[in-house]
Symmetry: C2
Subunit: 150 residues, 2 copies
């Protein structure tokens, strides 16, 4: 069954905008099953929860809760920004076979590693995702650096 | 300054035992600064918190809280078991330069990726860490498989 990429990315972007409105880092995620179910959605919560491990993708998986390993093999992870090494490794741990990102002009994470491990990686080159991140980085550069460990 | 590996690993093992006693997955971690401070300690909380992203290392970093990126560059991450891809990627995101594991006979995670990225990886080959994991896996094999996405 084909994934509804427009749906997955729309949810991820909604989450990113929600985080921005909360004063947080505007990166969102969505875990979509091939049968169309949204298994999880979430956003970066460094500011909101004081957490260095809740990025868009990890918060999404955390919100999806405990799942049997087989389920992840039928999912796509949507994220508004190229996944960092933490989120890359998390997708690999669970064997998520497909990752769709909003953009990678702002930041390039572990895309090469994903591809090396056989994950399908798609960049939808969303101007809206990119503009949101650029606005945020102009406003709070130190927060962005903290989030990527710089 | 040299790291006190015996101290770091003792704390990680304490955390692993604590998790076992709580009915959880017995993997623990500790983040030690080169000046001797314990910045964080933690353990797998899949069972305790229903979380698929709280492993020994990620829980340790979460408990350490938000830190400036520079601090991680002066730390060693201790973990009772070879770090999975998620925890490997998390160490890489924050530029932790040294990872010390209790053992890798039970499971081999992303050690190659760590070494490829220039991280110093040490295996202390702890029989106590290995026996604790082997006992747990005999008792709850399905829980272990869930934690590694199988």
């Amino acid at each position: 069954m084909a994934f509804d990429d427009a749906k997955g990315m729309a949810i991820a972007l909604e989450e990113a905008k929600k985080s921005y409105e909360e004063g947080g880092i505007p990166i969102g995620g969505c875990l979509l099953h091939e049968d169309g179910r949204v298994l999880g959605r979430g956003h970066n919560k460094r500011v909101q929860d004081g957490s260095p491990i809740l990025h868009g993708e990890t918060d999404t998986l955390n919100n999806a809760g405990r799942l049997p390993g087989d389920i992840y093999k039928h999912c796509t992870m949507y994220t508004t920004l190229s996944p960092c090494n933490m989120c890359t490794g998390t997708c690999l741990l669970y064997g998520i076979p497909r990752v769709v990102m909003g953009e990678n002009n702002t930041y390039v994470g572990g895309e090469d590693w994903l591809k090396h491990k056989g994950v399908e990686v798609v960049n939808v080159q969303s101007k809206e995702c990119e503009e949101l991140m650029q606005k945020f980085i102009r406003e709070k550069p130190e927060l962005w650096n903290e989030d990527i460990g710089v």
